[in-house]
Symmetry: C2
Subunit: 332 residues, 2 copies
């Protein structure tokens, strides 16, 4: 193999075959990949959850993760948020000519480790190579499928009085990537990038009246909560004091002019649950690594219909809208 | 809406929501897209065929198609080649900052028309925006799922004596894109880009002993046939006289220094079938628009194990290897 990936690795001919056979497949090895065709045949019962995301994060490697880990977690989490049990992923690479082969290998190894930890398999894929200046090293798309285990999760199920839970601190991913980009060496912020399917399983299996789950990625917690209440007759009231943010993330946000409420997370989820079940669900969350810092951050109410509001410690209240503008490009 | 897509359309915030709500969803409209979450819930029975491709074709529009039509056909065809009935697609856009909104709209309209004609639905998606110079206008990924209808299609089922069928002329897509790129105005070559799922259905429903199906995209017919026989005890013998190529494609290939046997096709399939069933399968193919020019192009034999050979009209025979080098970058 060459040291770098050249255009002929995307030709569909001999070099593409070598890249797949010698570099990609050994690293993603699993039984479904041992018979190659135009796609994979997988045993799954319907109904299914089906989701996709493309990942264009810059830089490719950052504290706590890399584009490969992100590409697996992002799609695993989307399937899990729909109430599905993520099982099989597709994986497609758009490689910029000149990418060091070693970079691709590191990303593949990371994808494999993340798949193992999430209990999912990459079963089909594709590789394209574009000319220098037509990409940015590596873009990855994953799509994921899994059997629907918990039907009915939807913002439409939310009711006034419901509790709003967050599985941990806000903004760790977004600030970790931003700091990695600006090469600030002293940062100790680590991306929260993690598969959440086991956390979801733990929360759902207890039979609580969970209304909706969603991972607040691009746009952050404030944007996702706005999506829940848009056009409805109720609002969500957050307590500023209850919002979990590490001191390091808070300091980084102050410095970068960001608001943790709008920063991307890649290993956190928001859960709206009936008030009588909130304590049980929090307890289930606390029993997992991914949810050990889960807290209730707010309540659904009908006082400010369609609005997400933040109660400050001094008694003020402000409206939080969806993210406007491009606070954080290329964060995932 | 703005006239061009700027970075904030990829923020995950207000502009992303507007792009999705006002531009993308109305054009791809179908019931599954009317309830948006992190993914789609679809009714499908297993086992499933699951496939993905990323599309990076340049230029975005070419005679006979565009990147949107290609993105739907490519994945529909991959699922169909596995013996699946393609049903649901995911669709993910990587947009370069500055793309005219009107370009995206044209592509979306084309995707919608192609989905209608193939009988599939886009049910989930994603949109990312990258800075100028980090992409090339638009890259699209699709993944597709469908119930497995015809199990057992595999090169491992091929036997000496089997007939090798091709559903129509070779090289139309590859040459159409190459000519569009070099802006040669006088070309009358039109990409063969088409969904093949109905052709496959027609071929399979008659109960013939079809061994394997595959669409010869990147790398062309010669590369795909090499993949069938690699490491086996048999070879495939092609008859040069039987290879269908239009005069226009032949002339373009001569001019561009290409070989139609290695040119990409996006609406053709190769079929290996038991000799006694070849005529029936050809008849079924001829009853469809996509297969009306189907012919037998060769035979599986044990004379030259592992080799694809071409018998010339003058009695010579040459070995056709897999595509080496990057004959045609960014063709799909």
């Amino acid at each position: 193999m060459d040291d770098i990936i050249t255009l002929d690795y995307g030709s569909g001919g001999k070099k593409t075959a070598r890249l797949i056979q010698e570099t990609i497949l050994p690293r993603l090895d699993n039984p479904a990949l041992r018979v190659l065709g135009d796609g994979a045949i997988v045993p799954l019962e319907g109904p299914l959850c089906f989701s996709t995301d493309s990942f264009v994060v810059s830089p490719l490697f950052f504290p706590g993760g890399d584009i490969g880990k992100l590409a697996v977690c992002g799609t695993v989490n989307d399937v899990a948020m729909c109430g599905g049990e993520p099982k099989y992923l597709s994986c497609s690479f758009i490689i910029e000519e000149g990418l060091p082969l070693e970079t691709l290998e590191r990303v593949l190894d990371s994808m494999h480790r993340t798949c193992e930890s999430a209990g999912v398999r990459i079963v089909t894929g594709d590789t394209k190579v574009v000319e220098r200046g037509r990409g940015d090293q590596l873009y990855i798309n994953t799509a994921g499928i899994g059997t629907l285990r918990y039907p009915g999760l939807s913002p439409a199920a939310i009711r006034p009085g419901d509790a709003v839970l967050l599985s941990g601190t806000m903004g760790d991913h977004g600030t970790a990537v931003m700091l990695a980009r600006s090469a600030m060496a002293e940062s100790n912020i680590i991306s929260d990038c993690a598969p959440l399917n086991r956390l979801v399983e733990r929360m759902m299996v207890i039979g609580a009246a969970v209304r909706v789950l969603r991972d607040p990625t691009r746009g952050g917690v404030a944007t996702t909560l706005n999506e829940f209440i848009e056009g409805t007759g109720f609002g969500i009231e957050l307590e500023e004091d209850a919002l979990p943010v590490t001191p390091a993330v808070r300091a980084a946000c102050d410095m970068l002019g960001l608001d943790p409420l709008y920063c991307a997370n890649e290993g956190k989820l928001l859960c709206v649950v009936a008030p009588e079940d909130a304590a049980r669900v929090l307890e289930a969350m606390h029993s997992t690594e991914e949810g050990k810092n889960a807290v209730q951050i707010g309540t659904v109410s009908s006082r400010f219909p369609g609005k997400l509001t933040l109660q400050t410690p001094l008694g003020g209240r402000r409206i939080l809208q969806k993210l406007a503008g491009a606070q954080l490009p290329r964060i995932c």
